[in-house]
Symmetry: C2
Subunit: 138 residues, 2 copies
DNA sequence: TTTGATGTAACTCATTTAGTTACATCGAAA
DNA sequence: TTTCGATGTAACTAAATGAGTTACATCAAA
């Protein structure tokens, strides 16, 4: 199972986007997520590194670098999940075996296609859609 | 990242399907995968429990319960990955916060859609396709 | 200069994964 | 019927990951 970082990161960004005129502290965000402020600051660091938000050291508040319609769930996923491939493949299969010899390439293709399908779906949903589902639709 | 069980299970089934007239031992399969025979037997157990193969205790060999065209990568995925949801969601978000209150439902929807996209792609590929890519195509 | 915030290193604890040892049990051949 | 080689499975280990926590250097602003 994929870790909770993606879920928490979306939660964080939804908070920031929903209160653009308030300077949210990591402690406030943590109380909404129900975790430790350091966990939030770590994620804010990753989101900042990915260019999704901007912050100032020592000063409360975080701001989106672009509008919620321009931030996809895939952007968020990649920001907090540095791993390139979704599926792990066992290494050093026996190259003297016809199956072992070709399996990594074949798995790369199959898993790559599946990951692409997932990523295309994630890139079709934006932070704005999340806000809409949170506040407009029931 | 998703564990190597899916990859190894596909490897195992490709071996079984490619040598339908040989009784492969867990030791032989392990030498192709390059791991311990017990790891193979554990996976064979899961594949058997999922109804994909049949085995006899004490006797070498495993047999597909249906043809390679009728076994999808999604079948294999579900056989060795008992977890229902692909994405983890943090629990106990603050219900006094508007975002915290609705986030789990919204994440469930978004993650569910992404998982469905992944699973649809996995179900479009069969063990036969794997064999074809291993032995027919380059 | 004091206060309250961020940024980040370092540690802990729980969980998962993969590998391993050990052994009960079964099937088939000697 | 005994022996041999296989499966099935429990139990243990070691490594990796995830999430929470403490501690503290640093910065912004009053």
């Amino acid at each position: 199972m994929i870790n909770t970082r993606v879920a928490v990161a979306i939660h964080i960004l939804a908070l920031i986007a929903s209160k653009p005129h308030e300077d949210l502290t990591s402690e406030y965000i943590a109380s909404s997520v129900n975790t430790n402020p350091v966990v939030i600051r770590r994620l804010l660091g990753m989101l900042k590194k990915a260019g999704l938000i901007q912050t100032t050291a020592g000063k409360a508040g975080a701001w989106l670098t672009r509008g919620p319609t321009a931030i996809t769930l895939l952007d968020i996923f990649h920001a907090v999940e540095p791993n390139e491939s979704l599926f792990a493949i066992h290494d050093n299969p026996n190259t003297h075996c016809p199956v072992g010899k070709g399996i990594q390439r074949v798995l790369d293709e199959a898993f790559g296609a599946a990951q692409t399908a997932l990523e295309e779906r994630l890139s079709a949903e934006t932070l704005q859609d999340i806000l809409h589902r949170l506040f407009v639709e029931d």
